[in-house]
Subunit: 340 residues, 2 copies
Amino acid sequence: MKEVTLKEIAIELGISITTVSKALNNYSDVSPKTKAAVLKLVEQLNYKPNSFAVNLRTKESKTIGLIIPEIVHHFFSNIVNAIIEKAEKKGYLVIILQSNESEKLEKKQIDLLISKRVDGILMSLSNNTKNLDHLRKVIDHNIPLVLFDKISKLIDCSKVIINDRSAGYDATEHLIKSGCKKIAHIRGPLNPQNSIDRFLGYKKALTDYNLPFNNSLIFTCEKVSFEEGYNFAKKIYTEHKDVDGIFAITDLVGIGAVAYFNEVGIKIPQQIAIIGFSNWFMSTVISPSLSTIDQPGFEMGKNALKLLLKEIKAQKKEREFKYKTIVLPTHVIKRNSTSN
Amino acid sequence: MKEVTLKEIAIELGISITTVSKALNNYSDVSPKTKAAVLKLVEQLNYKPNSFAVNLRTKESKTIGLIIPEIVHHFFSNIVNAIIEKAEKKGYLVIILQSNESEKLEKKQIDLLISKRVDGILMSLSNNTKNLDHLRKVIDHNIPLVLFDKISKLIDCSKVIINDRSAGYDATEHLIKSGCKKIAHIRGPLNPQNSIDRFLGYKKALTDYNLPFNNSLIFTCEKVSFEEGYNFAKKIYTEHKDVDGIFAITDLVGIGAVAYFNEVGIKIPQQIAIIGFSNWFMSTVISPSLSTIDQPGFEMGKNALKLLLKEIKAQKKEREFKYKTIVLPTHVIKRNSTSN
């Protein structure tokens, strides 16, 4: 179909292009009769305003960029769900990019979003991101930026997080209160702040309850996968038969551990108790169901978007905006993989 | 930060705007020395080409619209994963919208994408979409459209699907060959073509193997949820004690049924065999693990994008393009919820 222009509408009705444009934008100096005629013709001709031209005028793209490490992940897909749903209600579209845990790809994606002139960027860092120049670039370009979940403390912008340290503490404390005396931790990679913090929470709980910290009971995932959970559980069972509790960095890793112990006939939680992190739906349907920490993905997405839109609005009105960090509450969900 | 323009770069270097533009686009009639000088200054000044202006010139937005019913769904998140990964490699960004199974929202989203002048639209229909005018509108606007998974046979465009009828047949045949004599089907909603087709496959397999079809053994999901699987399993167990096999419309529904039978101590597959559809990761970790049909989400996304980009390219070069329907192969994955 041929594109209809304002000019054609103007010629058809014998009025000026300016009048057509004013009618479409509901200016008060155009008569109701003319407005009605324009709107009727627009409808008939299937006219769509050229959004690029509109963009050039308003300097707004009405799009938001979202960069996450991985979309096929229950937690992130919940966040994406919240963001696209709420953004659409506010008239924004969302361009989603996936860094696949690569710093290089992340940098490229930031450049892409800057060149696309998005109105703002929401982002959760990849596990391998060490250099932060690309985030500073976003801020230098005056593009509102909100980090969520995997953030860097070195970047000055709004953030939405949970308190991973206290959540890690709570998970470990739950195992201790269930009677565990020797607790292993299958932790995340060394770099991301949230895996460091969960580990520190674990360590602090041991200290507070007078349990010895033993470095040989720390197992470090690279991919945070089901297979790693399975293999580390095997290692724990083979090399540390007296371990009676495991705190796993995520539910997926915890489910891998459950699968191993089920396979070799070790009773959960009687012989070994397991707690995960994140509350995937999957954790409710395995046997035994997995105790976990509730990590509020939908709430996180919703709040991150809210902060971003506030900053975009403030920028538009040239009002000062103070960066804000929202810390969402978490809690232990007790299921059948831990006793008490 | 102030935006840098081509003009400022030209003034700074004492050359024309055209030369700057040519240097940036690597034209051969600009000397390597000038090119190097322009690139160096561009880097220093952090210049970004204005993508709206570029869009106006090239009439391409280099963005693709993607509408799916639900993102927090293993199958769809796999599709999204494939699409954004492959699109990015080809220089396209993806705007993702979620119809939440609402025809009304779907229509609104199509209008949005048209007004955003996306270069093409990829789409899986909501379960409740009956009127198809909005799809015809996309085609009327000359915007390439590819439907995948949940499609309509009434729309003339490229499609990527599986053969749901033969896959439903295979699932049912697998139960029959495992020794089931009385097989119930927990089906999807009445409207979507794929749930109709899986049901027809089920019916055909019964006929071919001389098993009576009994309408009271058909249970219809509205939301295709875990809870519906659980509740229908309860109903089957209470009202049809002699049913020895269940074909569930998706793994999630099948997992709900497994949960119910586990709870009441019915042995799977000895007393009742269950097969799902879609091959979620979750199905491998429950006990017993769920037999299923492999539905290739990643392949589907990849192929849908490929067809769309081909059509976009053909349109750009004003070449004729013939719509194509790709039917991806599926197969039975045997696990512990079925015997033999």
